[in-house]
């Protein structure tokens, strides 16, 4: 059985009388892509801040990589890379910012910067520009590059596709799957857009009103479906219906499936290979 990298039990946090987290239980196992889903203001970012030690909590227990106390949790945070929001010095270039964090993290290998820039697709010209001039998409990429420095075992991405164009969203989604598949990195990614995580994550945590309502694997989700979808050409739908009914198979619904806007977009611009 895989090791639990993050285990939260009954984590509660409030700002004055406003209870933001009301007893959160959450388990993230090694190798997971864990999708944290919830609407804006449901407590996703606060949960990440609690995990990273940026926000104190009032009740509950937290264990990172099996740590038994807060001192061990703090030491184990070195195994986590994260991107919650832009965290750069505008007057330094992207490369200089990464070099700053490389030194801070105690990474001796300077080629690590080229590795992470390559992964997120920032070219040398972009990397040499001051971070203050970066577009939103470039800032997201630089933030993810920073999270990847030193090959952490666990990555935390808070709404990494916020404000990105369709190509950017697709690139980040593919990147997350690639890092998980190729390097075995455990990843927690949050979003308020369900479709964004549906095909990326292995496990889901549905956070609502300060609690995780349910944790569910993708297999469990699939088992919940009791109907089967068969895709056939539009012109054959009547024939197919007749064949099924002749064989005593009840047809609940026949619907024309349109291409998604995303599929149509990529058909037109032909770009799915940019990651």
């Amino acid at each position: 059985m895989s090791e639990a990298f993050i285990q939260l039990k009954g984590i509660a946090k409030s700002y004055g009388k406003n209870e933001v987290l009301k007893g959160v239980d959450m388990t993230v196992n090694q190798g997971d892509i864990y999708g944290l889903i919830g609407k804006n203001g449901s407590g996703k970012t606060t949960l990440f801040k609690v995990i990273l030690g940026l926000s104190p909590y009032q009740a509950g227990e937290m264990s990172l990589f099996g740590a038994a106390n807060e001192a061990q949790n703090r030491a184990n945070r070195k195994r986590i890379g994260f991107f919650i929001g832009a965290n750069f010095f505008g007057y330094l270039s992207g490369r200089e910012n990464l070099d700053y964090y490389r030194r801070v993290k105690g990474i001796r290998d300077k080629s690590e910067i080229d590795r992470v820039l390559g992964i997120v697709g920032l070219d040398e010209k972009q990397a040499k520009s001051p971070a203050a001039r970066y577009s939103l998409g470039q800032k997201q990429r630089l933030g993810i590059a920073n999270a990847l420095l030193g090959k952490p075992e666990l990555l935390i991405f808070d709404e990494p596709t916020n404000g990105l164009d369709p190509q950017g969203i697709h690139d980040i989604r593919t990147l997350i799957q690639k890092i998980n598949a190729e390097e075995g990195t455990t990843i927690i990614v949050s979003s308020h857009i369900l479709s964004e995580l549906e095909h990326t994550a292995h496990r889901f945590g549905i956070v609502h009103d300060g609690v995780i309502k349910r944790e569910i694997t993708r297999e469990e989700m699939n088992r919940r479906n009791k109907t089967v979808r068969i895709d056939i050409a539009d012109s054959n739908s009547d024939k197919a219906k007749a064949v099924l009914e002749q064989n005593g198979i009840e047809v609940y619904n026949i619907a024309r499936k349109d291409s998604s806007l995303e599929e149509f977009y990529f058909e037109l611009v032909g770009g799915e290979e940019n990651v």
């Binding site: 940026l54 010095f89 964090y101």
Partner: protein
């Protein structure tokens, strides 16, 4: 901790606005000193204090912004704490960085001063310049400690900078000297302004007793750092 200090010092030294401003201050300082030395070398004693205070303010403020304000605004601090660095270590390292960067700038000013005295053949009157320059440095070491309580306790670098300027520019000295004339203090012969860093340092230097240095260090280094860490320990850090 050495990682953070080194990384941060290099970061501040790469900031173009800091480099340009430091160069301008250095040129202005050298030009003023050269004028004084060419007109009346004996008056060095009179202007050395003013030059030192000017240098500490004009270089100390950008260093303060580079070390503390930029750290807050960039949210680099959050990344470092999220990486498992204790807040105590972060506060201490930022204090050390400030001292090292300012010392570097003062070392350059000292070197330029030394060259000017040597070139103009006025080494005999050089002592007050170096004494006042490094006394101001020591005074700044104390001022920054006090300002850090606001920076980390209230997470407000702007107000922290105001406190720093108030102490380093002796603005608070005027205020506290005025308070000392209130009958209660005047009758008991209490000079409230003596609690200020620069005055404490003057007392220590004029009396030559180590106890005054220890008292100043306790009031403006140890206590502020302990307080800064304690106040910062439970603060919420935003992204």
């Amino acid at each position: 901790m050495f990682n953070f200090i080194k990384a941060d010092i290099l970061r501040v030294l790469k900031k173009k606005s800091y480099i340009v401003l430091s160069a301008i201050v250095l040129l202005a300082y050298a030009a003023t000193l050269l004028i004084v030395l060419s007109k009346n070398p004996a008056s060095v004693e009179l202007v050395s204090g003013l030059l030192a205070t000017g240098a500490v303010l004009l270089i100390g403020i950008p260093v303060f912004i580079g070390v503390f304000s930029d750290d807050f605004h960039s949210k680099a601090m959050q990344t470092i704490i999220g990486f498992g660095t204790s807040r105590r270590r972060l506060v201490l390292s930022r204090y050390c960085e400030y001292l090292v960067i300012l010392a570097q700038a003062f070392a350059v000013i000292s070197l330029v001063s030394l060259l000017l005295f040597a070139v103009t053949g006025n080494m005999a009157v050089a002592k007050p310049i170096f004494r006042d320059l490094w006394k101001e440095y020591l005074s700044t070491v104390l001022c920054v400690g006090a300002a850090m309580i606001i920076v980390y306790g209230a997470q407000n670098t702007t107000f922290g900078l105001v406190i720093f300027i108030g102490l380093a520019a002796n603005i608070l000295d005027l205020l506290l000297t005025g308070i000392s004339f209130i009958p209660f203090f005047a009758n008991h012969n209490i000079d409230v302004s003596l609690i200020l860093p620069s005055n404490m340092l003057n007392q220590a230097m004029s009396n030559g007793k180590p106890i005054f240095y220890l008292f100043a260090a306790l009031c403006y280094i140890v206590l502020p750092l302990v307080l800064s860490v304690k106040l910062f320990e439970k603060k919420e850090l935003e992204f």
